[in-house]
């Protein structure tokens, strides 16, 4: 490679990186994306807590309704995201919607535990409080991921592998089934 060509190299690399930044900057989330995901998570936490604490008196559909709503809202919002941008981000699926980001998973576990405990001891007013707090933390964690993605798209665009997500989903469902079986 001649010296003149070598002198063009910094510009080439900078230009390629600028286009990557530009692509990431153009990625937008659909309206109410984080709010709807957070609300669906809050509903799922509340229905799971009430369903578990209600023991045999709580219908099984109450437990299922939260999960079904969460899956439906997530699928609709991800489809809107893909249609709006013409791109797919594995990180958005796993970190934001799947809640594998540390803040999302810790806050979700805490909120679900708190809401379930509150339902078992009959502190019903605390169930929606814990559920809403869990949903809000989940949504905020998603917004935080989006800011991180824009700052360093190459590091955050991909999430966990599909196989790992499947394992996590199976573990979560198994845990829920075991809880229901204990009712």
């Amino acid at each position: 490679m001649c010296l003149d060509s070598q002198r063009e190299l910094p510009g080439r690399v900078a230009d390629a990186e600028a286009r990557r930044t530009s692509l990431a900057d153009q990625v937008v989330v659909p309206r109410l994306f984080f709010v709807s995901i957070g609300a669906a998570v809050a509903f799922q936490i509340a229905t799971t807590a009430v369903g578990l604490a209600g023991a045999g008196r709580a219908p099984i559909w109450l437990l299922a309704s939260g999960l079904v709503l969460f899956v439906a809202v997530s699928a609709a919002q991800l489809a809107r995201f893909r249609q709006l941008n013409g791109v797919w981000l594995g990180g958005l699926l796993s970190r934001v919607v799947g809640g594998t980001a540390t803040a999302a998973s810790v806050s979700y576990a805490g909120a679900l535990g708190g809401a379930t405990w509150a339902a078992f001891v009959g502190a019903w007013w605390l169930v929606p409080v814990a559920a809403i707090a869990g949903g809000a933390a989940y949504a905020l964690s998603g917004q935080r991921w989006m800011r991180r993605y824009r700052a360093d798209p190459a590091a955050h665009s991909r999430g966990e592998s599909a196989a790992w997500l499947l394992v996590l989903a199976i573990l979560a469902l198994t845990f829920l089934v075991l809880l229901v079986a204990q009712r």
Binding site: D15, A16, R19, L23, V87, W88, P153, A154, S157
Partner: protein, 97 residues
Amino acid sequence: MTDLDPQIQTPTRLRLMTMLTAVSEVEFAALRDGLAVSDSVLSKHVTALNAGGYVRSRKGVHRGRRTTWVALTSHGRRALRDHVAALREIIAVVPPQ
């Protein structure tokens, strides 16, 4: 010193592959607009990179019309990382003008 990858030597391919690191998958028209090239130019580059195992492409639908979705492969990601590392080594030793 790591060698430069001849498949990623051209500026357009370097831009294309660098852009792909920002997403898991991107639709053809979005990639074309980001690169500011024609359909035929992008198609030619994607075909060549696909043949080398650097990217994978699949037919799909976007906004109700048939299109192609393009993604970086693991091999492509490694090749780009090594190529950029080699470029930076060269840049570091090039004397200022």
